[in-house]
Amino acid sequence: MHKRIKQKIVFIVLRLLGILIVGILLWILGFIVYNGAEVINWTFLTTAPTEGMTAGGIFPAIVGTFCLITGSVVFAFPIGVLSAIYMNEYAGNTWIAKFIRIMTNNLGSIPSIVFGLFGMALFVNTLGFGDSIIAGSCTLGLLVLPVIIRTTEEALKSIPDTYRTGSLALGATKLQTIWRVILPMAFPNIITGLILSIGRVSGETAPILFTVAAYFLPKLPDSIFDQVMALPYHLYVIATSGTDIEASRPIAYGTALVLIIVVLLINLLATFLRKYFAKKVKMN
């Protein structure tokens, strides 16, 4: 009897912990949605900040974040996918593949601020890009490279070997097999990985602090060598060091909400696509 009661108490506590997790999430989201909802409107999304960032909108920051997403994807997506193809289709289980896998894992565990330092030393100073979209995109690209490689590798691994041997038996070369059979099948999962990495890029602050982000820059970028504002950095700036922190609080709430919506929508999209394609594969 005694141990039954003990079990009951423990299970209630565990259940409460589960509720606590959801509670924390709702607390954070609710707080930001509640305070940010009244700030967001069309003008907020389409105008530049004014009056020392205590009024106006966040349009340049949205555009900047979009530039950084595009830039880092252009940089990291091809490299990541090709690396994964090499690891899974060519290197197999050799020591090279193991070594690359360990290196990829290690790259993924490096803190984002270290990427910021590295980006500043290599892209901004040594290669002379200056604070620019290209420097920031390369830094962010390196940061998400492990994500893309890992998801692509998982996607390739999930394809049964019978497809490979079948294609090869029909006389196709290895390259043809990869291009015509493997990649089309892995495509949905690869895209899901890509979307997840976009979510990551759009929320990172530390890597762009010293490689691209501008404190206040109302004009839009003309070339990839321009600085831009970015949503996460903008939130950091107006939350901690604006000219009038109290007056810019509503803007901060609005920015946080936009940022959260962007990141969560991207994550939801990835989840949805994963489920959608999984269903489609099952039906085939």
Binding site: G18, I28, L145, G203, A252, V263
Partner: protein
């Protein structure tokens, strides 16, 4: 045609091979750039570049360490005999003071007479120590000598207890409080997150119905997806005032606040990995335990948790890794005071926050800039050790497989 195809195959293979090396190359480059800049710090003199410290030639002190210089100019060390000289009250003299002793006319056109006047001042006082720009050093005055300036030493950096990178004449790069601060709040974050995380993992893997899992799993994923700067903002406007009010503190930006935020951020990592490990417990072990008459909880406590202990260990290690490297959230809620922590409820400063806060103001290539890269190198080494040990732990788990 066939030959062409074969050549293409070979070219593509080569291309892919090169590509496979990109991550390794990236790590190599990160190491090279971080350590090259970082180790450059020890080639800097302990006195700021372009400046010299002069004393009267009659003074028998030849060299001073970085810390001694700082103590003198802070009026903490006041007598020459404390640092190996003859007794006499030290008279620190900063360059700017010359302008209150002499008028602009006396200093001549374009300050051409300035070195001469500086020489006079130093020659007059046997106990003086003057901090002046090299270009105004009185060359022809025998009564003045330059103190041999030492380079910044390893022990100044790793053993120093003060982080004052912009103080003159001798900036202090004592990294000790920063390392301690980083470990301090990461440790407490894990202490908070561990029972919570493992509890939720047990709940998810053993108790939760499919319907509950469908709510809880995405919630954890969302928690992992929220950008760190949003956590920082939330901490700043909600947790900081809350902590301040609850514990009746002068400021709410404390190590404890940072630990709270870090705990929330580390939760998804811990839960996901720990749950994975628990789910891998073989069905036979579970059923054997239940068949022996153990309750469900006893089975969890005595069989499942011990079985998945290395998975939980890996979860802890990776959670610490996440906490140590976290920058923005910590920067926004911990108050950033570079002191050796003595309690949880005081402002604190971590390595990543220091880099983020100061790199923007440090002149490129200077000692301050290089010291921040050295901090980055330390952070890099710590996270490498963590990631490798996590790999080691989870590999042991695989080979243990029953």
């Amino acid at each position: 045609m066939k030959k062409l195809r074969k050549i293409t195959e070979q070219i593509v293979k080569l291309l892919l091979t090169v590509n496979g090396g990109v991550t390794s190359l990236a790590i190599l480059l990160i190491i090279v750039f971080l350590f090259k800049e970082g180790l450059g710090l020890f080639k800097n003199p302990s006195v700021e570049k372009g400046y010299v410290l002069c004393v009267n030639s009659a003074n028998n002190v030849e060299r001073l360490s970085s810390y001694e210089i700082k103590q003198i100019f802070d009026w903490k060390t006041t007598d020459w005999n404390e640092i190996g000289g003859n007794a006499g009250t030290i008279a620190p003299f900063r360059f700017e003071e010359i302008f209150s002793l002499y008028s602009d006319e006396e200093l001549g056109e374009d300050y051409s007479l300035l070195p001469e006047k500086l020489g006079e001042v130093i020659a007059k006082d046997i106990n003086i120590i003057a901090y002046i720009p090299q270009e105004f050093f009185p060359q022809n005055n025998n009564a003045v000598k330059i103190l041999t300036s030492e380079n910044i030493r390893f022990s100044d950096f790793f053993g120093g207890t003060e982080w004052l990178p912009t103080t003159t004449p001798s900036p202090q790069f004592g990294v000790f409080p920063l390392i301690l601060g980083t470990l301090w709040i990461s440790l407490f974050a894990i202490l908070i997150a561990l029972p919570l995380g493992v509890g939720v993992a047990v709940y998810l893997s053993e108790l939760a119905s499919e319907r509950v899992r469908k709510i809880l799993k995405p919630a954890i994923e969302l928690l992992a997806g929220i950008p760190s700067v949003v956590y920082g903002f939330f901490g700043l406007v909600v947790l900081v005032p809350l902590v301040q009010r609850t514990f009746n503190l002068p400021v709410g930006e404390t190590a404890f606040t940072g630990s709270l935020i870090l705990a929330i951020m580390a939760l998804p990592t811990i839960i996901t990995i720990a749950e994975d490990a628990m789910r891998n417990t073989p069905r036979a072990m579970r059923e054997a335990s239940l068949a022996l008459g153990a309750t469900h909880w006893q089975t969890i406590y005595k069989v499942i948790i011990p079985y998945s202990s290395s998975g939980i260990m890996a979860a802890i290690v990776l959670g610490i890794g996440r906490a140590i490297g976290e920058t923005m959230a910590v920067l926004m809620v911990t108050g950033n005071a570079a002191v050796i922590p003595s309690s949880l409820f005081q402002p604190i400063r971590t390595i990543p926050a220091t880099i983020a806060a100061e790199l923007g103001e440090a002149p490129v290539g200077g000692a301050h800039y290089q010291s921040l890269f050295l901090l980055g190198s330390i952070l890099f080494i710590i996270t490498m050790i963590i990631s490798i040990s996590a790999e080691f732990i989870s590999r042991r788990r695989q080979s243990k497989g029953i």
